[in-house]
């Protein structure tokens, strides 16, 4: 009985319950909700953010944070726009986006490992720098000379109602889950986050892990930039503005501890779905997105407050 209760109280189970609840609620409130293409449409408003949430979750589990993710997306998008303007083909554009993301992530990694700057500070700096570079290059211009074939990433469908974006996210989520929970490297990430000093004494090349995670986060941001730019068909320097805090919210809502060492990919994926469904469902009912931010904010605090409150109750009883 106790084990059962504990399993139910696990964060992932609660998220799954919320998800089912949302599903039933929206399906009964709106007749348009349970349409395959409607649901498929709904996934577009979170897949790009969710893709970045995957490596960011690992980064936070390792005890670091990256505030510059949205700025990296903007910078990657600008570099793709410039590549496209020079008349390059789709392949070159995608490479430019991924390469810029990877490069930006490596700069973050170098600042934290070689420069020894705390990651929150370093990435607030690079956030300003990358976003600033996007503004400096573009100013108030818009880049939109993308070739037609470039639109496939953000607008294309693999089979039926399954979009390329969603398929990509599912594959990446699966791979990330396997990597984090079933490989030696994944275990090490947890160890680094739980106690970096002990990990170092145990022979873990902590800084190499940190650097790799920052680089991977940058690369995934580049990928998100490819999808987002392809979907919108244009690049402005303000692209993905404010996403950093939304993506971090998604990760924390997924049960990842900001103290490091705790979390799961399943939780992050569920949180992304909860996020996407709320946005979409409230949209169906004509409730503005900003009202949803009240729920999300309250939920975020509840996520971290619940275990703290339970702990207090337990301590009080003992």
């Amino acid at each position: 009985m106790k084990a059962w209760a504990q399993r139910f109280l696990r964060w992932e189970s609660m998220l799954a319950a919320v998800l089912v609840l949302e599903f039933v609620l929206f399906a009964s409130l709106s007749p348009y909700f349970l349409d395959l293409y409607t649901l498929s449409d709904a996934t577009f408003n979170f897949t790009e953010r969710a893709i970045v949430a995957l490596p960011l979750a690992m980064l936070i589990i390792a005890g670091e944070i990256d505030i510059s993710v949205a700025a990296i997306i903007a910078l990657s998008s600008v570099s793709m726009g410039l590549t496209a303007s020079s008349g390059a083909g789709t392949g070159a554009i995608v490479c430019a986006g991924l390469g810029t993301g990877l490069g930006a992530g490596m700069i973050n990694g170098a600042l934290v490992t070689i420069g020894r700057v705390p990651s929150i500070v370093a990435t607030i700096g690079t956030m300003t720098l990358f976003r600033g570079a996007a503004y400096a290059v573009l100013g108030d211009r818009v880049l939109k000379e993308y070739p037609e074939s470039f639109a496939i990433f953000g607008q294309g469908y693999l089979v039926g109602a399954l979009s390329i974006e969603l398929a990509l996210f599912m594959v990446l989520a699966l791979l990330s889950g396997l990597f984090l929970h079933y490989t030696r490297w994944g275990r090490t990430i947890f160890a680094v986050g739980a106690n970096p000093v002990a990990s170092r004494f145990a022979g873990v090349p902590v800084n190499r892990y940190r650097f790799a995670l920052f680089a991977a986060t940058g690369l995934f941001c580049g990928l998100a930039a490819v999808l987002l730019t392809s979907r919108l068909g244009s690049t402005r320097p303000s692209i993905a503005q404010g996403w950093e805090l939304e993506i971090i919210s998604m990760v924390i809502l997924g049960g990842v501890s900001v103290w490091g060492g705790k979390g799961s990919i399943l939780g992050v994926v569920l949180a992304a779905l909860v996020f996407g469904l709320i946005t979409f469902g409230l949209g169906l009912m004509n409730i503005p997105g900003i009202v949803m931010s009240i729920f999300v904010g309250a939920l975020l605090i509840a996520v971290v407050a619940t275990p703290a409150l339970l702990g207090r109750l337990k301590a009080g009883r003992a």
Binding site: I124, G132, V206, I301
Partner: protein, 331 residues
Amino acid sequence: MKIRARLGDASRRDLAFGALTLLLFLAVTSAFPAFASPRNVAGLLDDTAILVMLALAQMLVILVRGIDLSIAANLALCGMLAAQFDRAFADTLAGAGVPLVIALTLLAGGLLGAFNGLLVWKLRLPPIVVTLGTMSVYRGVIFLLSGGAWVNENEMSRGFVGFPRIEILGLSVLTWLAIFVAAVFIVALRRTRLARDLYAAGGNPDAAAYSGIDAGRAQFIAYTICGAIAGVCGYLWVARFAVAYTDIALGFELSVIAACLIGGVSIAGGIGSAAGVVLGCLFIGIIRSSLPLVGISAFWQMFINGAVILVAVLLSARQRDVKRHILEARA
């Protein structure tokens, strides 16, 4: 060596940074003499005033190992409250309107800040998560409060909009307020017991606890003061730009934190000075107002800020290496 012994690390940094800021100002002035005209300087100070107050408020929170991401949302919410209060009662209150608005925003902002502080103190929740959450909540509440509508200048009373613009000795009331807040901070952080408690709680919470300082309570106080200042800045912001809507100062929280970092505040807590933060804000302000003169597009502002932040934090990370992290071998 003598000076070294007498001045703390922070004071030495402030001195160097102050010289650098002055040098920047002189360099711009030597190329464009009009830059140092009283009118231009007054404008520069007026532009920087709100940032100075917010950065000082944020510094208090960072000193005690916190961070307040909700500071801009708090500002926007209190600004909306002020605008709606003014719209509803300005006619009946007449002259008493502005003092009441200031009292109201102080109280409202203080409560919003105290809420952050309570969660961090009593439940020991991570500050970044708490304030990320309240940031969304406070923004959402503005929308509920206003129904998404704007409060425009023609709906505001003349006293409400005019107060921060009143000129005394060539400077706006807004500037004088920032000078007043900066002066209080500079003196209080050096002279009061509360300030010593805050530094101690941020520098080493465990040691602080052994000497009878409640680090959690210090965090609560810092958040409350920070919120109250943000609240008043909400009124000043709305009055200065003569409009209130849901998205004012969106994303400004990160600019405020950036100003603190440039000013030498350590995110690890316990290190930072009011003078440094004021200098950091002035540094940003001078760059911002000189860009158009030098002929660089204003779009470069953000990039330059980013570069300045990175240089500042890289330098301070190197300084700290000398003293701390005895155990930290390079992995």
